[in-house]
Subunit: 324 residues, 2 copies
Amino acid sequence: MDLLTAIRQPVTAELEQYKTLFDEALKHSDDYLGMALSFLKQRRGKMMRPLLVLLVAKECGEVNMAAYRSAVTLEVLHTASLVHDDVVDESDERRGQGSVNAVYGNKMAVLLGDYLLSTAMQQSAMTGNLHCVDVVARLGATLSEGEIAQLANIRQQIYNEQAYYEVIRCKTAVLFACCGEMAAVAMQADAAFVEKARTFGENVGMCFQIRDDLFDYYDDKQIGKPTGNDMREGKLTLPALYALTHSDNQEMHRLAELVKTGEATANDIQRLIEMVKQSGGIEYAQKVMEQYAAKAEQCLDAFQNPAVKEGLRQYLMYVIGRKA
Amino acid sequence: MDLLTAIRQPVTAELEQYKTLFDEALKHSDDYLGMALSFLKQRRGKMMRPLLVLLVAKECGEVNMAAYRSAVTLEVLHTASLVHDDVVDESDERRGQGSVNAVYGNKMAVLLGDYLLSTAMQQSAMTGNLHCVDVVARLGATLSEGEIAQLANIRQQIYNEQAYYEVIRCKTAVLFACCGEMAAVAMQADAAFVEKARTFGENVGMCFQIRDDLFDYYDDKQIGKPTGNDMREGKLTLPALYALTHSDNQEMHRLAELVKTGEATANDIQRLIEMVKQSGGIEYAQKVMEQYAAKAEQCLDAFQNPAVKEGLRQYLMYVIGRKA
């Protein structure tokens, strides 16, 4: 049994129920919109976020409809933000499939993302819980704040580790945090547990993004994106930030400036990646990720259901060790 | 006293309170995002939608915080959709100011629109009323459905008046309908009044869009957009649809096809506009608009407050007679 199957074990039936509700939420009678939504449904992905919602909810008892709606809400919101991110990043591919902007054009991608954002909000209202609505609305704002901060950072010449953490918290970790929080709120857990569930999610999310950024330093066909993709978009992530702030190698700084200004060639990027690797940037990012993982693991003390607890521990292991 | 001032008369103090809340909702400590939001706040516009919310709310008694939040919600949502529409339509101008995409680029415009959508949702949650949240979430979905349908219609060669009404209902009238509905719901009015307030708004909204589409046939510097702008975007509106379905003039049909395929020159568009005018398309659209106005006026029977009732009647007159 592979790791993902093991993680899903405690909520196998619940995942099926979730899938039905998700597919219903993305159904539409209009030909053109319906076609675009079906296109999105084809790339179901690994369902990491709904899985987290369902595992946390299961800890609190039999998964209720508000928790299912929370899982759908967050996955639809995530999908919306991916659709718009691909427009912003001018990406042609997503999970081995064409991006919406590549297949349907930028205009449709903007409108489809808007439709999905509103669908997420409708689903959150269906929880019947204003606290859940508020969590999602704040999350939506935070996700765009994160992307806007990243856009602004690209223009700046300063290399700032703190700004990096702030960006990945906003653009990735907060979504995982909300998976934990909404699940607990939907199940009417007490405030202390809500906080633990949120903190677990947030730290898992930090690991998830650092791991994602590490992929950018390795050539691997399993991962959808090619090496150096972030740098091509003008983004310097944790390994490079570490290397740049711990070395005054003039060539490395010059290459980093070219990345920032969008003038770096493929060779420049390859050279910078090698230099970052030689400076210990990879090991540093790994270490930081493990620190976040340790913080996440501490939160598991608040969980009682042995199957759920083990599922979440494996979930964390999967996130920090994943190959794609 | 001009007409707009007269319309605002019954809710002068309430509009000031609304402006304070709106400006607070669009404040942000982040430099870049804060700057873009300030840019948007400069173009306050005529506040047609908040004005409608406040007038309807005032009918029900002293305007409460839920109604103020509804007004902010709907204006922020409207602003979000304008920002994204300008990306989709590749517009450089909006209310005599540069569009967000023209000034900050497409990427920022997409992200800023997302931020605004989420802000609208947060404001709706602040009404403390799940019904209000649901109205807004459905509205958000409908607005994007309308834009998507319009995008799909542009590709089609059929000239269909019903499809036109459906598009303008989704992209414009439903927003006005929700102004009436949310105001009444926020003030805890009974279901019959909610329905009247919604129907008034919907019919006003139909008038608003038909009037807007009529502008496209006249050269007037007061109006932000140049003559023939809709046709340049491949859109055929009510006057042209009437002319095309009531004439088999081969030249007119050939020109309309060029508009649809985006191949029409400035001269083609000028020629088509003239032919539509000669075919009585303008008078027909005027007549249809007046029918919607009559439906709106009927709804005013449900209003008791004389100042509010007169304000709403003038509001309607303003919408059908406005020059910009």
